[in-house]
């Protein structure tokens, strides 16, 4: 089998497995996996920028929150139905990432990290400032009646699982195609050696902007879906913590691997789940894992698999 064939088989196999798991999992893990698939979609978006383009953002929560609030606020205040609301959520992320990218990409390295961090912090504070509409930290619930998309009640576990799976599958296959596409290959070239890519005639700024927008839009789609599927939008999803988490997921799972975001999200989710049963200081786990990966396993799970077992892993 060719490398491309193997990788297609692996990723389709993962999707098939996830699809089949809904019939066997107990309710608790069934619900968890729905969440994990939506959050892994967020990680896929983050990985496009961090893993494949080499740009480390510390502010992706603003895109996740743009999707969540673009969707949630239009349902809550304009009475939109979920379909158009989701679309507005995604478009909010697209517009925000285009604006932030155009500014932040004038910097590089550490400055890029801090600029994205600051924009995201401003975004979080803006949500608090307009507390009359957003209800600030407390957030707001999206009622069950407002979560019926094309006759499907997304508050039902089965429908919710299927919706999360569809979103995840779409974004996974999309990114699989992207990295085989010349645009994706150019992003990888920019990650490897931006100066050389420019001296081959590539407009590296436009490519990086494209990557920020694609990454921000997928993150926003995940945020919008998360709000709709789980019926809640709150400012905590815009905090620094939600910018750090996708970084952690991707680092743990393996930056620059397609399967990494899912593996990292899955592991972290259950790690935090177990830790929070033991102590209120469960975020300790996040800190310890971040330090350990950076010190000892820079390539993450996916990277180690690629280095040791399957060299073809995309």
């Amino acid at each position: 089998m060719s490398d491309a064939g193997k990788s297609l088989a692996l990723h389709l196999g993962l999707l098939a497995l996830l699809f089949a798991l809904q019939f066997v999992l107990p309710a608790y893990h069934h619900g968890n996996l729905s969440r994990i698939m939506v959050l892994a979609t967020y990680a896929i978006g983050y990985n496009l920028l961090f893993g494949y383009t080499g740009l480390l953002s510390l502010g992706h929560a603003m895109f996740f929150a743009a999707g969540m609030y673009g969707m949630g606020l239009t349902i809550r205040h304009l009475g939109l139905s979920p379909g158009p609301a989701l679309l507005i959520g995604v478009l909010s992320g697209l517009a925000l990432s285009a604006a932030v990218g155009a500014l932040a990409l004038r910097t590089a390295g550490v400055a890029f990290m801090i600029v994205t961090l600051m924009f995201a912090q401003a975004g979080y504070l803006i949500i608090l400032y307009f507390g009359d509409w957003t209800r600030g930290d407390e957030g707001f619930v999206i009622q069950q009646a407002q979560r019926v998309l094309w006759g499907i009640d997304l508050s039902q576990p089965t429908a919710r699982y299927f919706a999360a799976w569809t979103l995840f599958a779409t974004c996974l296959i999309l990114s699989l195609r992207l990295i085989r596409h010349p645009f994706g290959k150019t992003l990888i070239a920019i990650r490897e050696n931006e100066d050389r890519a420019r001296m081959l005639g590539y407009d590296t700024f436009r490519h990086k902007l494209g990557a920020v927008v694609l990454s921000g839009t997928i993150s926003a789609a995940a945020g919008a879906a998360y709000g709709l599927l789980f019926g809640y939008a709150g400012a905590s999803f815009a905090t620094v913590q939600y910018s750090i988490l996708p970084l952690l997921w991707v680092l743990l799972g393996g930056a620059g691997t397609l399967i990494g975001p899912f593996l990292g999200t899955l592991f972290t989710f259950y790690l935090i789940d177990i830790a929070s049963g033991l102590t209120t200081a469960y975020m300790l786990v996040v800190g310890v894992v971040l330090v350990l990966i950076t010190l000892f396993a820079r390539q993450g799970i996916g990277g180690e698999i690629r280095a040791r077992v399957w060299a073809w892993l995309p």
């Binding site: 010349p182 290959k185 150019t186 990888i188 070239a189 490897e192 050696n193 100066d195 050389r196 890519a197 420019r198 001296m199 081959l200 005639g201 590539y202 407009d203 590296t204």
Partner: protein, 233 residues
């Protein structure tokens, strides 16, 4: 027809005049060698030509158009290829992908053109190896293959033979002579046998200024050049 020309092109770094008021004309189809002692401003000069470095003053024209204000990638798109003095390949990508990046940018067909470009520098067997795993000399050749794969109108080679073996240098000379008919080449070179055997015209830079210009034999005989180069009168 003049493919490349610069007028009063200058670059200061702080108080250092790296390039000073250079007027330079390169006719289409010529192989031009650019020589000069270390620190003469050769790499800075080609950096100004292809837009990696912003000039302090002066202008650059390419194929009749003023390109002084174009960013580097736009100049490359007009048909300038630049190979780096310090090897700068995509180390963690395969040789094939390195060249394919050059081919795809101008809309070429990688499947057909990548093997051809690698073959011209005798690297076809290494297509699937990571560029970073190649020997230094082979990485230099890969740089040249990436330059060729762009099918440029002007190929700028910055010290291409540095680190090559004698047999590789011989192969390089014949490659340049072969290209001579189709491509204009600007070659920064230290190896005088390469300069003498390949260049149509030689330009000598010293302290950022053009010291002499002429056919290789005339340059070899020029006393001012000898003084600058060899430090002897």
């Amino acid at each position: 027809m003049t493919l490349l020309s610069t007028r009063r092109l200058s670059k200061d770094f702080g108080g250092l005049h790296a390039v000073r008021g250079v007027d330079f004309d390169l006719p289409e189809g010529q192989i031009r060698a650019l020589i000069g002692p270390n620190g003469a401003g050769k790499t800075t000069f080609v950096g100004l030509v292809c837009g990696r470095i912003a000039p302090t003053s002066g202008s650059v024209r390419f194929a009749g158009d003023d390109i002084s204000r174009l960013p580097a990638h736009r100049r490359i798109r007009l048909g300038i290829a630049y190979t780096f003095q310090i090897t700068s390949v995509f180390a963690r990508l395969t040789c094939g992908e390195n060249v394919a990046l050059a081919v795809r940018r101008r809309g070429g067909d990688p499947d057909r053109e990548v093997p051809a470009a690698l073959d011209r520098v005798a690297l076809a067997a290494h297509r699937h190896r990571l560029a970073g795993d190649l020997s230094y000399g082979h990485q230099r050749l890969l740089e040249i293959a990436m330059g060729l794969a762009q099918s440029p109108r002007l190929l700028i080679l910055d010290e291409p033979t540095q680190g090559l073996s004698d047999s590789e240098i011989e192969a390089f000379k014949s490659l340049i002579r072969e290209l001579g008919g189709q491509t204009t080449i600007l070659l920064i070179e230290h190896n005088m046998s390469v300069v003498m055997e390949t260049a149509d015209i030689v330009t000598v830079l010293n302290f950022g200024e053009v010291l002499a210009e002429g056919p290789p034999e005339a340059i070899r005989a020029d006393r001012a050049v000898q003084a600058a180069y060899l430090g002897t009168g």
